[in-house]
Amino acid sequence: MNFDLNDDQKAIQALAREFAQAEVKPRAEQMDRDEAFPYDLVAKMTELGFMGLPFPEKYGGAGADTVSYALTVMEIARADASTAITMAAHVSLGATPFYLFGTEEQKQKYLVPLAAGKMLWGFGLTEPNAGSDAGNTQTRAQLRDGKWVINGTKAFITNSGTDLTGGTTITAATGKRADGKPEISNIIVPQNAPGFTRSKKYKKMGWRASDTRELAFVDCEVPEENLLGERGNGLKQFLQVLDGGRISVAALSIGLALGAYDEALAYAKERQAFGKPISKFQAIQFKLVDMLGEIEHAKLMILKAAWEKDNGRDFAQTASFAKLYAAEVSRRVVNEAVQIHGGYGFMDEYPVSRMYRDQKINEIGEGTNEVQRLVLARMMGL
């Protein structure tokens, strides 16, 4: 067994840390306040190769492994969760489906510009009335005269409406299966498809600098060739996408927790009470010990899932455990980080107050904690 990162992984982690601390962290507070999508940071992440990090060089990616990807997301989330989800959603949800299921032509047309960060892409699964209950997808796509005619609504779609967004890949019911259940397929919808509109950005509690919108399709038409992967395989495909996505969402949770821990540690060493830094009091020490301990536990599980994926193992269960555990750890850690800050933690100008808001979605997005437990119970054969 070997817990050492290899030289590439170390170098990528160091690069991500340096970039995130120098360029992202100082911007986080203002971006959150203004709900401002960080186009310049996306451009810098593109230049560094983060936006195509795990894809092969022949598609314009950097050819790095999942461990490096998880470490990168962690470091960016440590500085700012909004920037991290923008990057992670682009890679895991926007670009990955093309990499996994696209034809060579689709890879050239979509994956290459996405990996190069020239274009962002959304992944539209959730609907106003269907989140984890994806089998209940209401959006319909009917094949008429060589075109998919799409009607329906998608909700909470990340990166779906930025100036860089090229489109969104959506799940839609394309017919009925033999067993009477809807046949679900993935369809590529470019931004300029007739009948496709985006709402304004949602007003959110956290991840405020990320771009999240509702999508509406009214007799929206795209060519038949915009089917991604096999017809009827949509359910299977997005489950596969979400398996990998769990590693990055877990990394995002733990990056946020690390950021909150950094703040709490610095504050505890600086803040004086009863004549000494509060870090000298056991009540505070025990909190910091538990915070870092839990972060380390979660990190081990995330990296194990990433390692399993890199080594071609079945990683779904580890990734699911990692996502669930990391989300819950992030809640406990940000909560204690605010507690250590006392009244100041409740104030807007202290980063922990933003982190407290940014955290909650970790327990909801890409499968709630409850759905995660349901998925795990099934995997455990219960």
């Binding site: 590439d8 170098a11 970039f19 560094l48 190769g49 990090l53 950097a62 050819g63 790095a64």
Partner: protein
Amino acid sequence: MNLREAGLGFLRVLGGPEANVKIVVTVKLVPEPSSEKKIDSGTKRLVRTGVETVINPYDEYAIEAALALKEKLGGDTTVTVFAMGPENTKETLRKALAMGADDAVFLSDAGLEGSDVWGTASALALGLKKVGFDLVICGGLSDDGSSGAVPGELTEYLGVPGITNARSLDVVDGKVHAQRETDNGYQVVSGPLPALVSVTMAIGEPRYASLKGIMGAKKKTIAPLAIADLASPLALGSAGAKTRLLDFAPPAPRQKAQVVDAPDGATGAKIIFDFLKEKRLV
């Protein structure tokens, strides 16, 4: 006798217009600047084990200057990074390769341990002659030893014109042009190649190593060099050191802060201002 008198050398002849400049950047591998530094009381040397090693931050500016010059000159201009240090710090050089340097040379030999400034500059000069160069670019000083003397000594031992404290740098018609920072402004200086230039932080912020750079760095070579390759006429390392570190001490502890107790902000500001004025800081 110094190395010049020993008649060693020689230098690569510049092969044509500046689109073929061989740039060599000297790089030191130092303990991570924010890490706690310890000195071994027995050897009086910096403890380098168990401490993360990084490229000397000042040298990153030299690498940036070299890469920017290469981008500007184009053609067959190359950037080689040249470092001397303990074997276990070799991989630290990969960062320079990931930033965009073409290759690296790593001079490492147990016989170089305990080199003083003279020994370091002598060994580097012999190594640089062996590697060949049109332009050597150095950082201004190292973050650990901080003598700031190596660029000047290298100029002497290499027998080439030297320009220190450059804040900008260019090569035109086989000549190096630079702006030298001074206390009051800057000087515009030029000299023929081959030459040596040391740069300040005003030369431009070092670039990040991109992911593609990192992934590509492992395919680039780090050529080894040892004392035997240098054919030095003089003893190097601790045996040849001309200076001896006799003693060392930590900096005096910081004095207790003076707390200003004032009834209001304006009065407090006045007290602080008077204090700074007394110390001639404003």
